[in-house]
C-alpha cells in the first residue's frame, strides 16, 4: 500500500483518507483531524481573539516535497507501514478540517507516536501559512521554525 501526501482546496473527507491506509499486515490506523478553531490566544499578549474564518496558503511544490520527506523520515524512525497526509488550502470555516494525518502500523503504539511526530514536524517545516480573519482585522499566524535568515 502506498503513502500519499496531498494539498486540496476541497473539503477533506476524513474517513476516505483514513481508509486509504489500511494495509492487511497492519491492525491499527491512527488519524489526526486538525480543524479550524474559533478562539486563539495571542502568544505575546495572552489576548484571546475570536476568529471568523481561516485562509491557508502554501508554497505548493515545496510543501509537497517537505511532506514527502516527513513521510520518508517517519517510516525510518517508527514501526509503521503507511502514511497519508492531506492539507486543505484556501478559505476554511470554523470547525472545518485543515489537515488529516493517517498512520497505519502493525501495532497502535507506533502509529500514535508517529502521528504526533508528523503533525509536530509538519507545523515546523512544511511551507503552509494560516491567516486568521477576525471581525475587525486579520493576522498571519507565525510558527516556530527550522532555519532562520
Amino acid at each position: 500500500m502506498s503513502d500519499f501526501y496531498e494539498l486540496t482546496t476541497d473539503v477533506i473527507d476524513i474517513v476516505s483518507v483514513a481508509r486509504r491506509v489500511v494495509p492487511p499486515e497492519c491492525g491499527a490506523t491512527v488519524t489526526l483531524d486538525g480543524y479550524a478553531r474559533r478562539f486563539t490566544t495571542d502568544k505575546a499578549t495572552g489576548e484571546v481573539r475570536e476568529t471568523e474564518y481561516l485562509v491557508y496558503e502554501a508554497y505548493e511544490p515545496m510543501a509537497l516535497k517537505e511532506m514527502a520527506k516527513l513521510v520518508e523520515r517517519a517510516k525510518v524512525e517508527f514501526e509503521i507501514s503507511a502514511v497519508g497526509i492531506v492539507h486543505r488550502l484556501g478559505r476554511l470555516e470554523i470547525g472545518e478540517t485543515s489537515v488529516v494525518i493517517s498512520v497505519a502500523a502493525p501495532h497502535r503504539k507506533a502509529a500514535f507516536t508517529a502521528c504526533e511526530w508528523l503533525i509536530k514536524e509538519l507545523k515546523r517545516t512544511v511551507p503552509i501559512w494560516k491567516k486568521e480573519v477576525y471581525a475587525d482585522g486579520e493576522a498571519w499566524s507565525e510558527g516556530d521554525s527550522v532555519a532562520s535568515a
Binding site: 502554501a58 515545496m62 503552509i128 521554525s145 535568515a149
Partner: protein, 86 residues
C-alpha cells in the same frame, strides 16, 4: 561593497505576511552575481519597512538554505515567515 559586479536574474517568490508587506507575490529581479540569500533578505527588508524585525526563512529551488548560501543565476528564491500550517 562589491565593485564591477555583474548582474544575474533570479525569480523571487513571497508568501503570507511577506507578500502582504511587499505588495507582490512574485518578481523577477536583477541582483549582483554571488549575492547571498541573507543579503537578498536584508535588501528586501530595507525596501519594505513592514518586514523589519521579522524572522524570515529562505528556500532556494524549494529547499531551505542558510543565509550564507550564494544565489545562482536563474534560481527560484522563496522568502517567508516561519510556517504555520496544520
Amino acid at each position: 561593497m562589491r565593485l564591477l559586479s555583474t548582474l544575474m536574474r533570479i525569480n523571487l517568490l513571497m508568501f503570507g505576511a511577506v507578500a502582504d508587506a511587499a505588495g507582490t507575490r512574485e518578481a523577477e529581479v536583477e541582483v549582483a552575481e554571488g549575492l547571498t540569500a541573507g543579503e537578498l533578505v536584508e535588501s528586501l527588508k530595507a525596501k519594505h519597512p513592514g518586514l523589519a524585525g521579522q524572522k524570515l526563512l529562505i528556500a532556494v529551488d524549494q529547499e531551505y538554505v542558510a543565509a550564507s548560501t550564494p544565489l545562482e543565476p536563474g534560481c527560484e528564491v522563496a522568502i517567508f515567515t516561519p510556517v504555520s500550517g496544520g
